[in-house]
């Protein structure tokens, strides 16, 4: 593993470790990533082209904002490229992102580089980016990442999201509780008694605008959005326990919108033998798509139109994926598809403030490419012994993966004795031996364990000090 550069802050007498991170592009993704990294005490410089956007960022972020072209050597020098430990290139232009990384590699030898690419040739670019010339550590393709996440949940009607932690050994499953679910009205204690598969735990509850890290007497209610952790090899038992019926085989899926993400999902699904119909309004675009896909039927029609959907026989399809570029269209047509008999509706919603509302409306799962990208980047930015930080909802809750250090107060005690703050829960432990467990009150954390924690926003520093040696606010 690469050493993460650490610096000791000379600010005041507080000992802190931080990186200087240069972010190219101050759009939605750049600003979100910056906000998070500033909160984790890193020094951020943002390069952004639009003067208006710069003024906006200047007002809302405690970061240095440099106006200029992200692919210009002069601008990057002005932004302090040579002092940067990390470069995150997330401008709207692939060319600028690659050039920015090239300059960073050739001019200043910046150690860590992350770039977002949108081109469908991303596979070809990956090998080039990883090579000596650019040496980019992480290339993120928003459509690819989102398509991957969508594909995981297509065949699971009750499941809204599945994420993986601890190198894939632990899964986090999100589901909306329907009113007829047997889980409604049950408390955590009841669940434990009814004997779920041993490696299952309810980690987080989203109820309306509330976030709850559940304790023994918290009850589940209809309409709750629940996150459950389970070891990945037992995840199907968990589904059974939770009353989620997995379709034995996903047969028919509708995709609306022939943008790249739509194509990406179609290619993945047809590879698994699913019958896919892809709706696109633009004829020329349809032709182009038909050249790319194999078995997918490309339909030149408006996939948000009721008549069309009925004609194309929407009744009984396994999933309806609204992946157009228009948030409102996606939300409304997903609701329509449910009414017309689709078993699962998935919508792409990019405006972050729509997300909680869309969830309440009854769409089974909602994805935002922006959030997916922000998550991916933040998981990659490693700080000391914290392996990754993932945020949920509008940053109201987080999942942290870290390695527990010897000599901290977390070691050698049962979780019950540990007295974690209210609003935090240990969701998974992965031992160096390869053993993975979803802990109970009597589980004991050992030094070197990889620990997955769920907590409310703002508890991170407190948890850090419980698990990581020399962290927190030690006086220098």
């Amino acid at each position: 593993m690469r050493m993460t550069p650490l610096r000791q802050s000379n600010f005041g007498c507080i000992l802190q470790f931080w990186m200087r991170i240069l972010i190219l592009g101050g759009g939605a993704v750049g600003a979100s990533v910056a906000r998070r990294l500033i909160r984790e005490k890193n020094e951020i410089v943002i390069v952004e082209g639009s003067e208006e956007q710069c003024a906006q960022l200047e007002d809302t972020l405690d970061a240095k904002i440099v106006q200029g072209n992200a692919a210009s050597i002069g601008t990057l020098k002005r932004a302090g490229l040579s002092e940067a430990d990390m470069l995150i290139a997330v401008t709207n232009s692939d060319e600028a992102n690659i050039l920015g990384c090239l300059i960073a590699q050739a001019h200043a030898n910046v150690e860590i580089k992350v770039a977002r690419l949108r081109t469908h040739e991303v596979g070809l670019w990956r090998s080039l980016c990883g090579g000596e010339l650019l040496n980019i550590d992480l290339v993120i393709h928003p459509d690819e990442e989102t398509a991957e996440r969508i594909q995981r949940v297509v065949g699971l009607p009750g499941i809204s999201d599945i994420r993986e932690f601890a190198e894939g050994k632990v899964s986090l499953v999100g589901m909306n509780l329907a009113a007829d679910s047997w889980l409604v009205g049950k408390s955590m204690e009841d669940l434990r008694k009814s004997g779920p598969p041993s490696n299952t735990l309810v980690a987080m509850l989203f109820r309306g605008n509330q976030v709850i890290i559940p304790r023994g007497d918290d009850q589940l209610r209809a309409g709750d959005h629940v996150y459950i952790v389970a070891t990945t090899d037992q995840v199907s038992d968990t589904f059974t326990f939770m009353g989620v019926e997995a379709a034995e085989r996903v047969k028919r899926v509708f995709i609306v919108g022939g943008k790249q993400i739509g194509i990406e999902v179609a290619l993945r699904l047809e590879g698994k033998g699913v019958q896919v119909k892809l709706f696109e309004r633009d004829l020329a675009r349809c032709k182009r798509i038909s050249e790319l896909v194999k078995d997918t039927v490309v339909v030149h029609a408006d996939g948000t139109d009721q008549m069309t959907l009925v004609e194309e026989n929407i009744e009984g399809i396994d999933a309806y994926l609204a992946l157009t570029g228009d948030d409102e269209d996606n939300i409304i047509s997903s609701l329509l598809s449910k009414r017309l008999g689709a078993r699962k509706a998935i919508a792409l919603v990019n405006r972050l403030d729509f997300l909680p509302m869309a969830q309440l409306l009854g769409i089974n799962s909602i994805f935002s490419s922006r959030l997916v990208i922000v998550d991916r980047i933040l998981q990659f930015v490693r700080k000391g012994h914290i392996l990754s930080v993932t945020t949920f909802r509008q940053e109201e809750a987080e999942a942290i993966e870290l390695i527990a250090d010897a000599g901290t107060k977390s070691i050698g005690k049962t979780l019950k004795e540990l007295h974690l703050p209210h609003g935090a829960i240990v969701g998974g432990i992965s031992r160096p031996s390869g053993e993975v467990l979803i802990p109970r009150g009597d589980s004991v954390i050992q030094a070197g364990d990889r620990v997955l924690l769920f907590c409310l926003e703002g508890l991170v520093p407190e948890l850090e000090s419980a698990f990581i040696a020399g962290s927190g606010r030690a006086k220098a």
Binding site: F11, G12, R20, I44, E51, E58, D62, K64
Partner: protein, 482 residues
């Protein structure tokens, strides 16, 4: 919506910092064996009480400030500092009224240096130290100090930073506001130390060296002598003060580039610095010639002209000669230099040299546009194009400055001040210089001004220090609308 508890709580922390400074001053005054430290003690207690009240009563989670809350915080902090800083003078009995005490205090914090004291030398040393210290704190900025040392400001700090530190928009020394503020303050302290040592070497006693260092680096102008720098009659002291006034009048970001980052080209290649030095040189030359033609020896003329031009243009306001005895042309030239002021990002007041430079460029562009009807021209400063928005706000600022200037002059004449005095007093207050012309010249003071005039001038000082918008915006109705 304005969350008053948040604003007042933060103000409380600032006042707590002021209390610390007051307490320190009291302690030093005690060791200077000043007979009477009672006024300083009472002021410390009052200030501490107010701080405690605000901090404890409006306790709550530290939040980010909105735009409006930021402006209010800056204003309330400045006004409360001025009011609390007036207490030592008021309690001491050397100053008759609270109006006068407040005038002296705000003149200190805004680094104006206008005084209502008739006999400065009669004051105990503790009070004189406090008087100079107000300069030093206000020079680099109360809020900037707060951002650097109080951990309560994160996002929204930029807003505060900008309200007090001119020209901050283009360059931030570090990504974090707090570290930028700390870097600026460090530089300020380093320069102050250097000047103190230099003055000691030139033979000044340590107490006076401290006071004059505070006044010089802040471009304030309070002296411990009635006759200001003239009292020392020492070319060495004058030379040292000239050098440090010059330094204080140049942007501290430039100093940072030169001294910390060691990039001399970024310092000497800066058009503002060049223009600033050019203006100083030509002003000195013009006055020296006029003085030589009238009365002075050439060498003597250069010496007094240089000191006075630097002192006025950097908005310090020390006097090494009574310039009211000079030819009218020289006096008017000094008045004109008052408007120019120092560089953006320095401790000096005035309209700022970069703005003046841009104004010339904007006017020049207008002429070129008239000739080349279809030509497109951009205004540049240091090879970088200046946006139309910046130009617009620059023109607005100059217009606003003249509007306030004129209104304040009207107000002064309305309460019976003569025209020359009114014009000079307003300019000297608004651009934070201190001594003016007429009956407020370098050998006179502001004691005889009518009460109303003193309040108008106090307002001008604050408006000038915070560059007009911050002070005036609270008088607009839209500011208070939800």
């Amino acid at each position: 919506m304005i969350r008053w508890p948040t604003v007042l709580n933060a103000t409380g922390y600032f006042i707590l910092a002021l209390t610390g400074v007051l307490a320190l001053t009291t302690l030093i005054a005690y060791f200077l064996d000043t007979a009477d430290i009672a006024p300083l003690v009472s002021a410390t207690i009052t200030s501490g009480g107010l701080a405690g009240f605000l901090v404890l009563v409006f306790r709550g989670p530290v939040r980010e400030f909105s735009h409006r809350e930021g402006i209010l915080l800056v204003l309330i902090t400045w006004v409360s500092f001025s009011a609390l800083g007036a207490l030592p003078f008021y309690f001491s009995g050397f100053v008759d009224s609270f109006t006068d005490s407040f005038f002296e205090s705000i003149s200190g914090f805004t680094t104006t240096g206008a005084t209502i004291l008739v006999d400065i030398e009669a004051l105990p040393r503790g009070l004189l130290l406090w008087r100079s210290l107000t300069h030093w704190i206000g020079g680099m900025g109360i809020i900037l100090l707060g951002i650097a040392i109080l951990p309560l400001i994160g996002t929204g700090g930029m807003e505060l930073y900008r309200s007090e530190f001119s020209g901050a928009k283009s360059e931030k020394l570090a990504p974090r506001v707090a570290e930028t503020a700390l870097a600026l303050w460090r530089l300020y302290v380093a320069f102050s130390l250097a000047q103190y040592i230099a003055l000691r070497l030139a033979g000044m006693d340590s107490f006076e060296a401290v006071c004059h260092t505070f006044s010089t680096m802040a471009t304030g102008g309070f002296s411990t002598r009635n006759a200001s720098i003239e009292a020392f009659n020492s070319p060495a002291i004058e030379a040292i003060i000239i050098v440090f006034m010059l330094i204080a009048g140049i942007s501290f970001t430039r100093h940072y580039r030169l001294l910390v980052e060691r990039r001399p080209r970024s310092f000497f290649g800066d058009q503002e610095v060049q223009f600033y030095l050019g203006l100083l040189a030509s002003g000195t030359l013009a006055i020296a010639i006029v003085l030589t033609l009238n009365s002075h020896q050439p060498l003597e003329a250069v010496r007094v002209a240089l000191f006075q031009v630097v002192s006025i243009m950097t908005t310090t306001g020390f006097a090494s000669a009574d310039f009211e005895l000079w030819a009218p042309f020289a006096q008017l030239l000094l008045l004109a230099l008052m408007f120019a002021g120092g560089c953006t990002g320095s401790t000096a007041g005035g309209l700022k040299v970069a703005r003046l430079f841009l104004l010339f460029r904007v006017v020049g562009r207008e002429f070129r546009r008239m000739v080349e009807r279809r030509g497109v021209f951009s205004v540049r400063l240091n090879q970088e194009a200046v946006s139309e928005n910046t130009i617009q706000s620059l023109l607005n600022l100059v217009y606003l400055a003249f509007l306030i200037n004129f209104s304040a002059c009207m107000a002064l004449t309305a309460v019976g001040v003569d025209v020359l005095t009114a014009i000079a007093a307003v300019a000297a207050s608004m651009f934070n210089i201190g001594p003016g012309l007429g009956s407020v010249g370098p050998t006179e003071n502001y004691a005889h001004m009518p009460v109303l005039a003193k309040w108008v001038l106090s307002f001008c000082m604050l408006a000038g220090r915070l560059e007009f918008y911050t002070v005036l915006i609270i008088f607009t109705r839209s500011f208070w609308r939800k």
